[in-house]
């Protein structure tokens, strides 16, 4: 008799354990689907544009529909017949989307006790934001099949072929009394690359910067990368996107090159931060000694990896979908675009008129070369703790 009782109790607990596992499993899948839906919806927010009114409402609706569409993809297998519902709420003003879902998970053993199903809820909130590239990230790591390694500016003091912040022409290295403003003693001040604060890292004449991004740039609708070039003189530079040729053997630095990095000039996709009345702030092609004709741009700009202007050497679309590395190279030219400030018909408000000017002697100044203030990955979408309401 005792055995029968004991056996029944054990059986009941085991049955509950199985039902609980099934419910937990369904809950996990529902949460996963909810998070993916929120992330997909947030991808429609673009950091370059700040629409208001009807246009913002249209994009918000599109983001909500996108979340619902993605959630629909997950209504498969365990979530196929659990009677799900979804409510998505997007706000362009803060580039967030809140997704709440619910489902009724059927029970197996508990149904003998009259509990046919259990309602489970999930919610997730995703935000689209800019990610500032910094000289070093304490926690941002790349995951590769080989290892984890840190993002940041790739630099080797022993060999300048990774990053080289050129000193001004005429700098006096022995006593350092006419030095680059981007140097501290003999070390480039990489921390100047942080956020937009008008404290730039000047590349120097022909200097360049190689950065392993804290997160991959993935091509999304609109621009994907923003480079802030400080100062009123808009100086020229080239931008290259790169990925590992062999991801199983990634590039670490010049001394440990792994499989190497493949590069593509993405400068042709540049859209100026400023609106130019005469449309002079556009990419320009220049002839180079070692790499043929290359495009360069003047001043701060947005870049789009998926722009169809980025071609292969055969003239086909390059279809760049992502980049892990960014390389910015100063154009080594004492020229810049400046705002026209003379003339009776000049506009008093944007758009202004810009024209190209020579800056003789610029290569010998303490802030020679393009002045890179900040590098931002746009539309970086991530999950945040979901609030009750947006």
């Amino acid at each position: 008799m005792y055995m029968i009782f004991l056996f029944s109790v054990i059986l009941a607990f085991c049955a509950m354990a199985i039902d609980a596992t099934i419910i937990y499993n369904t809950r996990m899948k529902l949460q996963d689907a909810t998070e993916r839906a929120a992330l997909a919806g947030a991808e429609l927010f673009n950091d370059k544009f700040y629409p208001t009114g009807t246009l913002a409402a249209t994009i918000e609706s599109a983001a909500e529909e996108k979340a619902e569409e993605i959630f629909g993809h997950f209504l498969f297998g365990d979530l196929k017949s659990v009677n799900t519902t979804i409510i998505a709420d997007a706000k362009y003003s803060n580039k967030k989307i809140l997704v709440k879902t619910s489902a009724y998970s059927p029970t197996f053993f508990l149904s003998f006790l009259g509990v046919q199903s259990v309602k489970i809820n999930a919610k997730a909130c995703a935000v689209s934001e800019k990610m500032d590239v910094k000289s070093n990230f304490d926690s941002a790591m790349w995951t590769t099949p080989k290892a984890l390694y840190r993002s940041g500016i790739i630099y080797s003091e022993d060999n300048s072929t990774d990053t080289s912040i050129s000193k001004p022409l005429g700098q006096i290295s022995s006593i350092q009394n006419f030095y680059s403003a981007s140097y501290e003693t003999n070390t480039p001040i990489f921390r100047l690359i942080d956020d937009i604060d008008n404290h730039p890292l000047s590349l120097g004449p022909g200097g360049y910067l190689l950065i392993r991004l804290p997160a991959p740039i993935v091509d999304k609708p609109g621009p994907d990368l923003f480079i802030k070039e400080a100062g009123k003189a808009l100086e020229g530079y080239f931008v290259f996107a790169g990925i590992d040729i062999d991801p199983f053997n990634p590039y670490l630095n010049n001394a440990t090159q792994g499989g190497g990095v493949a590069w593509k000039n993405i400068t042709c996709s540049a859209i100026s931060e400023y609106e130019d009345l005469n449309n002079n702030l556009v990419p320009y092609s220049v002839s180079t000694t070692h790499s043929g004709t290359q495009e360069k741009f003047y001043g701060s700009a947005y870049f789009d990896l998926g722009d169809s202007c980025i071609k292969t050497s055969a003239g086909n679309n390059a279809n760049l979908s992502m980049a892990k590395y960014i390389k910015i190279v100063d154009d080594n030219s004492e020229s810049a675009f400046v705002k026209r400030s003379l003339g009776s018909s000049l506009p008093s408000s944007p758009p202004y008129s810009y024209y190209k000017a020579m800056l003789f002697g610029e290569a010998s100044t303490a802030t020679a070369g393009a002045d890179i203030d900040a590098i931002q990955i746009l539309n970086f979408v991530r999950l945040i703790p979901p609030p009750e309401h947006l």
Binding site: A17, T289, S291, L342, S364, T367
Partner: protein, 379 residues
């Protein structure tokens, strides 16, 4: 005891069945988690030329199989682990299927309380752009760098450097600190003399008073970097002996250095599509290059690019001597324009002090044209 032994086989069978179900559910969860993890790492696997099938087979399927095996889930051929994808607009939907075969088959001898196999599936969605074939057929690392030079990429450094108009290049050493003066370097184009368009007239200003301090017409030869003494029209110059280079000629004097173009050469200082050089000159545009180095610390006190070009375009201003102020963003220096006169100072001087200086200016002994070009303003 006897009763227990009678019930024991059923308990064992029951626990076996429960274990199988729990194990199957665990595998189901691992399949979901595995597909989610593996697809979220696709970005790290992409290399030039990779296509959709490679992503599916070499990355997702391969790593999902390893993921399951690392969690003690059988992933052999009989488990029929399969991964496929569907492109739906801008999304790629990955679907993984898996067949779990229970190993505890004893109950099946008596009754089919356990199925012969259980099929699980998992879904993950990623941006479909990650499945596009990347064609990074541009430069590799080696091609971008020019191994023969240390600080210039893409094109030959020597050619570009030779074209630069800065003349601060220095190979020797100086002996003293550089303090308290502004020097103007004005390019001269004098035909028929050795110091042609690579010659810069040197004029300096002590920062305290407006005075033309040069006792002779100094010039710097861009080729040998040495100072020269010239006659009044710079048609004849002779090297100042014993001076290794231009900088060493001005120890303890130089803080701020102007590089100024007086447009006397034919270089295209402004590349404006709708205007000739002469028309731009007439418009009053002027470009200066400027280096400001703080006393003693030798650090830049402001971004060269922060100077507002407007400050030099005094034709915008009322007639002299109405003045205009432009402060650097750092607030460490000020550009003052007094009609055709431009003064850059460190911001420590008050407006009254500066006015006092200006009110005591000596009468220039040279023409208005010289006055204008010396301080970099055209009217």
């Amino acid at each position: 005891m006897v009763e227990f032994l009678l019930v024991m086989p059923f308990i064992i069978i029951l626990f076996g069945i429960l274990t199988e179900y729990v194990y199957a559910l665990t595998i189901n969860m691992n399949l979901n988690q595995g597909l989610k993890s593996v697809t979220s790492l696709i970005y790290g696997q992409i290399n030039p030329g990779v296509d959709k099938e490679q992503v599916r087979d070499n990355f997702v399927k391969y790593w999902l199989r390893n993921y399951l095996r690392s969690r003690y889930a059988p992933a052999n051929s009989e488990n029929e682990l399969n991964v496929d994808y569907r492109i739906v607009g801008e999304d790629a939907v990955f679907i993984a299927s898996y067949k779990y075969i229970p190993s505890f088959t004893l109950p099946n001898i008596y009754f089919h309380f356990l199925p012969n196999s259980m099929r699980f599936s998992a879904i993950s969605v990623i941006p479909s752009v990650l499945l596009k074939e990347n064609i990074y057929d541009g430069s590799t690392t080696e091609n971008i760098y020019d191994g023969s030079t240390t600080n210039i990429v893409l094109w030959g450094a020597p050619v570009q450097e030779a074209n630069k108009h800065g003349v601060m290049e220095l190979t020797g050493n100086t002996t003293g600190a550089i303090v308290d003066s502004i020097i103007f370097l004005i390019p001269k184009a004098i035909a028929g003399v050795p110091l042609t368009d690579k010659t810069y007239e040197v004029k300096k200003w002590n920062g305290e008073n407006y005075r033309y301090l040069s006792t002779s017409n100094l010039a710097v030869n861009l080729t040998d970097k040495k100072p020269y003494s010239c006659n009044s029209d710079f048609s004849s110059c002779s090297e100042i002996s014993g001076i290794p280079n231009f900088i060493s000629y001005f120890p303890n004097t130089v803080t701020n250095i102007f590089f100024y173009d007086d447009y006397s050469d034919a270089l295209p200082w402004v590349e404006h599509p709708n205007a000739s050089i002469s028309s731009i000159l007439n418009s009053g545009n002027l470009k200066n290059a400027l280096a400001l180095v703080e006393n003693n610390t030798y650090k830049s006190v402001g971004n060269y690019d922060d100077l507002d070009i407007l400050g030099y375009n005094t034709s915008l201003l009322p007639s002299p001597p109405v003045n205009n102020h432009i402060f650097s963003d750092s607030g460490k220096y000020v550009v003052e324009t007094y009609g055709s006169l431009v003064i850059v100072h460190n911001g420590n001087q008050t407006k009254a002090e500066l006015n006092s200086i200006l009110n005591n200016l000596p009468v220039p002994s040279y023409s208005a044209t010289d006055f204008s070009s010396e301080f970099g303003v055209l009217e």
